[in-house]
C-alpha cells in the first residue's frame, strides 16, 4: 500500500510500530558514560564560586564540568550570543545549568550532582516584562545595556486619519501564557569520539547544522571535526533548536575530554525547567471601523517576554508584526513590537512562531467589531479579508499564487453548518447548565523564513548501478514524515516506483547546510530541492541515452520507468539507462538546490515583500460550557487549509489534527506556571497537554492550489494548523456564555490563587 493508492506511506512506519526504531536514548556504545546537568536554586544571581570537589569524589564520577572547562566559546546564540553552555558570570533564570556531572551510570551522576555547591549573590529578579522596560530596571544582561532585545514596527498610511474616519473605535488588551512544547521525547544527545578524531553527535534536535556550529564553537574545532547525524526524533514543534543544541555541545565536550562516548538523557522535569517556551504576549489593540464594516485603522503594541536569553525572539516577534492585522486589508497601521529580557524561562521558537498569540487577538477583535456594528462576523471578515491581488499591511501584493482565503472560509462554514449552529448558540442563556457555542477563526501565513534570513535547500539524488536510488535532503525528520514526503516527491518527479528510493538519513558531513527544519519550510524547501535535482537527473539521463534512442536530447521523453526517443523512436528502461550511464561514466549523481524567490524588508517602515508565498486557513470549533463548573467541552472541530499540493494525504491530515489538538491545549489547558521565577508544573501530570478524551472528532478539509513558485507545488501546513483553533474556541465560548475571553488559557470561572496543582495522571 502506498500514498499513490490513497493509503498512508512512511519509510519509517514499520520500524516505529515494531519498536525497532532507534531513538537517541536507544543507542548503545561500548564504554558509554552518562551525564546530567546541575542547576542551582537561584533565579537571578551573580556567581561567586562553584564547588565541584565533593561531586568529583563521589562514586562512579568521571568528570565534572563547568564553564571554566570550555575550550572554545561558552556563549552561543543564533542572533545574539548570550546563551551559555554553562553559566559563568551570572545565573539568569532558574533553568541555567552551572555544571555537568559525568559518571558510570545516570543514577550515580544524579547523586553526585546534588553535591555541587553554588555560592552566589542573589540579584533582584525581573519577572514582569513591563518592569523590565522601566528606566533603571535591573538588567538581565548588563553588557546589552538594556532589557530590550529588539523592536519591530509597521508604519503604513496615516492612523490618525484612519481613526478619524472610523465610526467606531474599539480598544482591548489581551494576554497569552507561557506554554511548553511537550515533545514526548525529552532532550537527549550522545557524542562519540571516532578514531579519526571526529566527534560524532547523535541527538534529538531539529537543526543538525546549527548544532554542529555550536558544538564546534564550544570545542574550538573546525566544522569538519564534528559530524551531527540525523536520528529519529520524538517530536520537536520548534522546541529542539537552541536548548537541544546545547545538550549536544555539553556531551561532545565531555566525550572529547574523556575520549569515550557520553550520553545525556534529560529527565522531564529538567526538560521543562530548562528548555525554551512559547512567548507569553501582552497586546494592546485598537481598531477603527466604519459603519459599513471596513477596518479603517489599527494601532497595536505587542510586548513579548523573551525570558533570560535572546534565542529567536527577534524573528518570532517579526512574524507577529508582519501578521498583526490577521488576513485583513488595512490601509492605516501603526504597530510597535518589543521583545524583552526578563529572568523568566527562555522563550523561543514554537510551532506557530508568534502567530498563535496575534491570531487570538485579531480573530476576536474582528468579531467584537462585527457585533458592535450589528453585522455578522463572517460578513465582516468577507468585507476586509485579502483576495486575489490584495495588498498586505506591509505593502506586498498577493498575486503570485492563488489567494484562497474565501475558499477555505466557505469550506469550513459549509462543513460545520455554521449559520445554522450560530443561531442555536446560548449567549449565556440555556435551559440546563450546558451553554452551547460555535466559533470560527481564520488566518493567512507567510511561508518559510521570509525576510528573517536567506532561504535555500539542497538535495542529492545518487542512483546506484542497479537502478536503486539514494536520496538525501538538507531537511530533518522531526517525526512529521519529512523523509517520506521527500521520497514521494522524488518518485513522482522521476516517474519511478517508490520501492526504488531509499532515503539516506543525512549527516552534516554529506549535505550542505540547508537551514533549520522549522517555519513549515521542510516540504516546500526540501521538496523544491528534490524536484530541482530530479529534473536535473532527467536532463542527465536524456543526454546519456539520446544517442542510443537515435533522437536529439530535447526529444527524449519519460513515461514512468520507460524512456522514449522521438516520434517512432526506440524505448529504453530506466535500469538500462542507468547501466549506460555507468558504462559511459556519465554518473547519475545530481545535486539540486532550490533558492526561495527574493523577499524584502525595510525595518524602519515595516514595509516589504515579507514572504515569497502565503497559505490560507480557517478553522471552526463547537463546544459547550458548563455554567456551574466552567468546564469547556469540545464537541467538534473543522479545519480547511490550502496546502498547495498534498504530498502524503494521511500525513497531511495528521498535521491538521495534531496542530488543532495543540491549539486546543493552548486555548483550554496549557500553562507553564511559576512562582518567583521557578516553574511549578515540571512534569506531564501537572502540565496538562490534551488527552484523547479532551478532544472532539475533527474534520480536515485539504484544499489544493499548487503554488507556481514551489517546484513541487506544495506549500506549508505544520504551523497554519496550529494557529487558529484557540481563537475559534474563544469565539465559540463567547457565543456560548456571552462573555469575551481576553487571556489564555481560557478560564470561564476564576481559579483560586492557591489552588493546588491538579494531578491528571491516569
Amino acid at each position: 500500500m502506498n500514498a499513490a493508492e490513497g493509503k498512508s506511506w512512511r519509510n519509517d512506519a514499520h520500524a516505529k510500530v515494531t519498536g525497532r526504531a532507534k531513538f537517541t536514548d536507544d543507542l548503545k556504545f561500548p564504554r558509554l558514560l552518562h551525564a546530567v546537568p546541575v542547576y542551582s536554586d537561584f533565579v537571578h544571581a551573580r556567581i561567586l564560586r562553584i564547588s565541584t570537589e565533593e561531586a568529583r569524589k563521589a562514586p562512579g564520577v568521571a568528570l565534572v564540568l563547568t564553564a571554566a572547562d570550555v575550550p572554545g566559546t561558552n556563549c552561543f546564540g543564533q542572533i545574539i550570543r548570550d546563551y551559555r553552555i554553562f553559566a559563568d558570570d551570572k545565573i539568569r533564570f532558574h533553568g541555567d545549568v552551572v555544571a555537568m556531572v559525568v559518571a558510570e551510570t545516570r543514577d550515580l551522576a544524579i547523586r553526585a550532582a546534588a553535591l555541587v555547591r553554588v555560592e552566589a549573590e542573589p540579584l533582584h529578579a525581573v519577572l514582569d516584562p513591563e518592569e523590565a522596560l522601566l528606566p533603571g530596571a535591573t538588567l538581565v544582561h548588563e553588557a546589552h545595556g538594556s532589557n530590550l532585545v529588539n523592536t519591530h514596527r509597521i508604519r503604513r498610511g496615516d492612523v490618525a486619519a484612519g481613526f478619524a474616519q472610523a465610526d467606531l473605535v474599539i480598544e482591548e488588551s489581551f494576554r497569552t501564557q507561557t506554554v511548553e512544547h511537550a515533545y514526548m521525547e525529552p532532550e537527549v544527545a550522545v557524542s562519540v569520539p571516532r578514531p579519526d578524531g571526529v566527534i560524532e553527535v547523535y541527538g534529538s534536535m531539529q537543526h543538525p547544522f546549527s548544532t554542529r556550529r555550536f558544538v564546534c564553537a564550544c570545542l574550538g574545532v573546525p566544522l569538519s571535526g564534528v559530524e551531527v547525524v540525523g536520528t529519529p526524533m520524538g517530536g520537536g514543534f520548534g522546541g529542539k533548536d537552541d536548548t537541544a543544541a546545547i545538550v549536544c555541545a555539553r556531551t561532545a565536550l565531555a566525550a572529547k575530554l574523556l575520549g569515550v562516548p557520553v550520553k545525556m538523557m534529560y529527565r522531564r522535569d529538567w526538560s521543562i525547567r530548562e528548555s525554551y517556551k512559547r512567548h507569553p504576549y501582552r497586546v494592546a489593540y485598537k481598531m477603527g471601523v466604519s459603519r459599513d464594516g471596513h477596518i479603517t485603522a489599527v494601532q497595536c503594541r505587542i510586548l513579548a517576554d523573551g525570558g533570560a536569553y535572546c534565542s529567536v525572539t527577534p524573528w518570532v516577534t517579526w512574524r507577529s508584526t508582519v501578521q498583526c492585522c490577521g488576513p485583513y486589508v488595512v490601509e492605516n497601521v501603526h504597530c510597535d513590537t518589543y521583545g524583552v529580557y526578563t529572568n523568566n524561562v527562555v522563550a523561543g521558537a514554537m510551532r506557530g512562531f508568534g502567530s498563535p498569540q496575534m491570531n487570538f487577538v485579531v480573530e476576536q477583535m474582528v468579531e467584537i467589531a462585527a457585533t458592535r456594528l450589528g453585522i455578522s462576523g463572517v460578513e465582516f471578515r468577507r468585507r476586509n479579508m485579502v483576495r486575489q491581488g490584495s495588498v498586505t499591511i506591509t505593502g506586498q501584493r498577493l498575486d503570485t499564487h492563488k489567494v484562497a482565503m474565501a475558499e477555505v472560509l466557505d469550506a469550513v462554514l459549509k462543513e460545520i453548518r455554521y449559520e445554522e449552529k450560530l443561531a442555536r448558540c446560548s449567549h449565556g442563556r440555556a435551559e440546563g447548565d450546558e451553554l452551547y457555542g460555535v466559533g470560527i477563526a481564520m488566518s493567512y501565513r507567510g511561508v518559510s523564513l521570509g525576510a528573517e534570513g536567506v532561504d535555500f535547500c539542497a538535495a542529492i539524488i545518487n542512483v546506484q548501478p542497479d537502478g536503486s536510488i539514494l536520496l538525501e535532503v538538507g531537511v530533518h525528520e522531526n517525526g512529521q514524515g519529512a523523509e517520506a514526503a521527500m521520497s514521494l516527491i522524488a518518485a513522482r518527479e522521476l516517474g519511478v516506483g517508490l520501492g526504488r528510493i531509499r532515503y539516506r538519513r543525512a549527516s552534516t558531513s554529506t549535505v550542505p547546510d540547508s537551514g533549520t527544519t522549522v517555519a513549515s519550510r521542510g516540504t516546500i524547501m526540501g521538496g523544491g530541492a528534490v524536484t530541482v535535482a530530479a529534473r536535473e537527473l532527467k536532463e542527465k539521463i536524456a543526454e546519456a541515452v539520446c544517442g542510443r534512442l537515435g533522437c536529439p536530447k530535447g526529444q527524449v521523453r519519460f513515461d514512468g520507468e520507460t524512456i522514449c526517443g522521438g516520434p517512432g523512436g526506440g524505448t529504453i528502461s530506466f535500469d538500462e539507462a542507468i547501466r549506460i550511464m555507468f558504462q559511459t561514466q556519465c554518473f547519475p549523481y545530481v545535486f539540486g538546490v532550490f533558492r526561495a524567490p527574493r523577499v524584502s524588508w525595510d525595518e524602519h517602515t515595516g514595509q516589504g515583500d515579507a514572504y515569497f508565498t502565503w497559505v490560507y486557513g480557517c478553522q471552526a470549533a463547537e463546544l459547550s460550557v458548563n455554567r456551574k463548573t466552567g468546564k469547556v467541552r469540545l464537541l467538534g472541530a473543522v479545519a480547511a487549509h490550502d496546502v498547495g499540493r498534498a504530498v502524503n494525504r494521511e500525513m497531511v491530515r495528521g498535521q491538521f489534527f495534531g496542530g488543532m489538538a495543540m491549539s486546543a491545549g493552548y486555548a483550554l489547558h496549557e500553562e507553564i506556571r511559576s512562582k518567583d521565577g521557578r516553574i511549578t508544573n515540571t512534569n506531564l501530570n501537572t502540565y496538562r497537554i490534551p488527552r484523547a478524551m479532551d478532544l472532539p472528532e475533527m474534520t480536515a478539509i485539504i484544499v489544493e492550489n499548487p503554488d507556481p513558485q514551489s517546484p513541487s507545488g506544495a506549500k506549508a501546513l505544520g504551523e497554519p494548523t496550529n494557529e487558529i483553533l484557540a481563537p475559534a474556541i474563544a469565539n465559540a465560548v463567547f457565543h456560548a456564555t456571552g462573555r469575551r475571553e481576553f487571556s489564555l488559557p481560557i478560564r470561564t470561572m476564576p481559579v483560586p490563587e492557591d489552588e493546588p496543582e491538579e494531578d491528571c495522571r491516569l
Binding site: D12, H14, G19, D26, P232, R268, G658
Partner: protein
C-alpha cells in the same frame, strides 16, 4: 526469579528484583520499544502488557512482573516479521508521526481490543486516555484501532443470542 517476556522464559537473579523494570528491559534485554518520557507514570510511553493488562513500567520494579506474562512491542509482530493487524492498521491509517508514543499506544489498544472487540470511538478514546501523544491529536490512532477491531471480532465471535 522467573520472567516470561514475549513468549520467552528466563531466569534472573533475585538481586535484579529491585531494579527499575524499564531499565532492565531497555539496558539488559535491549527491548528499547518502551520509552522513558516522564518517569512518573503520567504519559504511558513506557507501557507494556502484564497478563494482557497495560502497565506503566517506569514506576515498576523487575520483581513486580515475576511469574507473569509480559508482552512488549517487540513481541507484537509474528516471528517471521509479519505485522500484527493492529500494527498494520497504525501504518495504514497514518497513526504514526514521531513514533515515540506508538509502542505504548499499540499495546494499550491491543489490551483494550482483547476485552472489547466491538468498541465505539468514545470507548477507544477512554481506553487510550492515559497515553499521551503530542503529534497526532489521536484521531488517526483512533481510526487505526477502530479498523483493527475487525480482526479481534473474528478472533472472538459474538456470543450467540440467548435462546428464548
Amino acid at each position: 526469579m522467573r520472567l516470561h517476556i514475549n513468549g520467552r522464559d528466563m531466569e534472573v537473579a533475585d538481586s535484579a528484583g529491585e531494579r527499575r523494570l524499564i531499565n532492565f528491559l531497555r539496558d539488559d534485554l535491549d527491548l528499547t520499544g518502551a520509552k522513558n518520557a516522564c518517569d512518573i507514570g503520567a504519559c504511558g510511553a513506557c507501557t507494556i502488557l502484564l497478563d494482557d493488562e497495560p502497565m506503566k513500567i517506569c514506576i515498576k520494579r523487575v520483581k513486580d512482573v515475576a511469574g507473569h506474562r509480559v508482552l512488549t512491542i517487540e513481541g507484537m509482530a509474528a516471528p517471521d516479521g509479519t505485522l500484527h493487524p493492529l500494527q498494520q492498521a497504525f501504518v495504514d491509517c497514518g497513526a504514526i508521526q514521531c513514533g515515540f508514543c506508538t509502542p505504548g499506544m499499540i499495546l494499550v489498544a491491543h489490551a483494550f481490543l482483547l476485552n472489547q472487540p466491538r468498541p465505539t470511538r468514545e470507548q477507544i478514546r477512554k481506553a487510550i486516555n492515559g497515553n499521551l501523544c503530542r503529534c497526532t491529536g489521536y484521531q488517526q490512532i483512533i481510526d487505526a484501532i477502530e479498523r483493527a477491531s475487525v480482526h479481534y471480532q473474528e478472533a472472538q465471535p459474538p456470543a450467540p443470542a440467548p435462546s428464548t
